[in-house]
């Protein structure tokens, strides 16, 4: 009887020893990796770079946790699994943020395009009112060519936007907006001076 008990305890010990080797949470790792790739494909690395980088760092940290667990006699992947679950949720949030930023950026660029177009129209109208003395007329010729450049830029930005290059179009339209605003200020100043004479 006593020997049977000892044999049973020994068998249980061996069983516990081997059965407690928990499995690597590969499904969770794959899911988190796929979700990060999905977020990258959505352009998060461009539109919300900080959030995307935090996600990548978290994934690296989770992978380290997996290896830390694997290095133990009795691996326990609970912490790694918890972090992987957080990463999957973070990925969903980051993707949503990225999509929101894209929509915002698109709206901003479209608004700036409309603003530059309006400014160009206003500037063209202001040219008719501007003084046309020797220097004035020469300056107006230069301004007309500047307006033409901003018009060309708007066309280029619209092409970039159509190709989905929101960042590029945003930078370009900002320059055109600055230029068109400066032209308007220059024309208004010249007209005001003319009126003051």
């Amino acid at each position: 009887m006593k020997s049977k008990l000892i044999i049973a305890i020994a068998a249980m010990g061996v069983a516990v020893l081997f059965s407690s080797c928990a499995k690597v949470p590969q499904t969770e790792i794959d899911a988190a990796t796929a979700s990060i790739q999905e977020v990258k494909d959505a352009g998060a690395d461009l539109y919300v770079p900080e959030a995307y980088q935090a996600l990548v760092d978290s994934m690296k940290s989770a992978n380290e946790k997996v290896e830390v667990a694997k290095a133990k006699w009795f691996p326990n992947y609970t912490k790694a699994k918890d972090q992987l679950a957080v990463i999957s949720q973070m990925a969903v949030d980051t993707k949503a943020k990225s999509e929101t930023r894209k929509v915002e950026l698109q709206a901003e660029v479209e608004a700036m395009i409309a603003e530059v177009k309006t400014l160009n129209e206003e500037n063209t109208a202001l040219i008719a009112k501007a003084p046309r003395g020797k220097e004035g007329a020469a300056a107006l010729e230069a301004i007309k060519s500047d307006i033409a450049v901003t018009e060309t830029t708007v066309t280029e930005v619209e092409a970039l936007l159509a190709n989905g290059d929101l960042i590029g179009s945003n930078d370009k339209i900002k320059a055109a907006q600055e230029k068109a605003t400066a032209i308007k200020a220059e024309l208004e100043e010249a007209i005001a001076k003319k009126g003051g004479r």
């Binding site: 020997s3 020994a10 380290e64 006699w73 004035g136 020469a138 450049v149 900002k174 320059a175």
Partner: protein
């Protein structure tokens, strides 16, 4: 007999369990003595994050990539070692990779900061240089009859400079660099073409200087002589060697060229005379003084150019070059005539009449004076 056997088995089991226990204890002791690469990997990862924040992936790309590769190698090796039996695991390589990754990341961060500072400095220097070139164009070249491509290149460079400044302000230093380099190409093209045009034009300066000096000499003794400076856009009236009047003048869009044929919108250069005065009703330009273009030299040059095939066989030499009113528009708009403000042509017509000598030159002043010593 059976009892003795059971006892024997019991002792064997106890002995085995003891061996197992001792082996287990020794194994646990050995494993506990192994240093895990956890801290090294964490430090490497953190160093990589700091390097990335410093823009190392952009400005120290090679070092940053090496650091990432070493981190990845550390992770792969860690995973491989973990798949070995626990007592046979060796994390030395993992730790070495992690440490190298951290060192590379720190190097990348440092290199990135330096590169970014350099790029920023270069961009700022380029902005100053480009603005100077744009200003040079504005001061010297903007009124030249340049081709549309030169004009467009100048305008394009201004827009690219603005874009570069915006990229610089938002920390996109590489984009800023690409943009200012593009702007530089455009402005250099525009300024080079314009300066070449100006320099080539002034190759005739000694001839103009002689013409102008002769005209001024001809004004001695009370004669009134008209001297037109195309570059300065001024029409002078000289008498007794002194300029007694000067008026702002406008020419054709192709004013820098010497007139060679009908419709070239160029203003002729040389010695001419007023042949008649047109008053209101006889001209659409308020008042006009008709010149005797073409003169003998113009005809000779025209024939020679035609012979050389430089001018179309059907082209005419042109005529009706006048000094007339309707000017003051601020740009070169005539078909090759000399446009003055109405009040100025009125004044000029009071001073001169038929037979007055009219000398038209590219410039009275040499290029160095015209360009005010500007380096171009």
């Amino acid at each position: 007999m059976v009892r003795g056997r059971k006892k024997k088995i019991t002792w064997i089991i106890i002995a085995l369990l003891s061996v197992f226990f001792v082996a287990g204890t020794i194994s646990v002791f050995i494993v506990s003595q192994k240093v895990l690469p956890t801290d090294d990997l964490r430090l490497a990862r953190e160093a990589l994050t700091v390097a990335k924040d410093a823009g190392a992936d952009l400005y120290a790309e090679k070092l940053y990539k090496e650091s990432v590769q070493m981190y990845d190698s550390a992770m792969v090796n860690w995973s491989r070692e973990n798949s070995e039996f626990i007592l046979f695991r060796d994390y030395t390589r993992v730790i070495n990779f992690a440490k190298s990754s951290k060192e590379k990341a720190e190097e990348a961060e440092e290199a990135s900061i330096k590169k970014a500072a350099n790029l920023s400095q270069n961009a700022e220097a380029a902005f100053v240089s480009l603005e100077k070139k744009i200003e040079l164009y504005r001061r010297l070249f903007k009124d030249l009859p340049l081709s549309k491509s030169v004009f467009d290149a100048h305008n394009k460079s201004k827009m690219l400079l603005s874009e570069s400044k915006i990229a610089h302000e938002s920390g996109k230093l590489k984009d800023a660099e690409i943009l200012f380099k593009k702007a530089e190409i455009y402005i250099n093209h525009a300024n080079h073409a314009a300066s070449k045009m100006l320099r080539d034009y002034f190759n005739d300066y000694s001839n103009w200087n002689n013409l102008a000096n002769n005209a001024i000499s001809a004004s001695h003794g009370g004669n009134k002589v008209i001297l037109v400076d195309k570059v300065a856009h001024i029409l002078y009236v000289y008498q007794s060697g002194k300029a007694i009047r000067s008026y702002e003048a406008e020419f054709g869009p192709n004013w820098m060229a010497h007139k060679e044929r009908t419709g070239d919108k160029a203003t002729p250069e040389g010695n001419y005379h007023v042949t008649s005065e047109k008053v209101r009703g006889n001209t659409i330009y308020h008042k006009a003084l008709l010149l005797d273009y073409p003169n003998d030299e113009d005809r000779r040059r025209f024939a020679l150019n035609k012979k050389k095939g430089l001018i179309s066989r059907n082209a005419g030499i042109g005529s009706l070059i006048e000094i007339h009113g309707n000017g003051g528009k601020g740009f070169n708009w005539t078909s090759g005539c000399i446009g003055l403000r109405d009040r100025d042509i009125d004044d000029l017509c009071r001073l001169v009449g038929s037979g007055t000598r009219v000398t038209i030159v590219g410039s009275i002043e040499p290029l160095s004076v015209v360009t005010k010593g500007l380096d171009f």
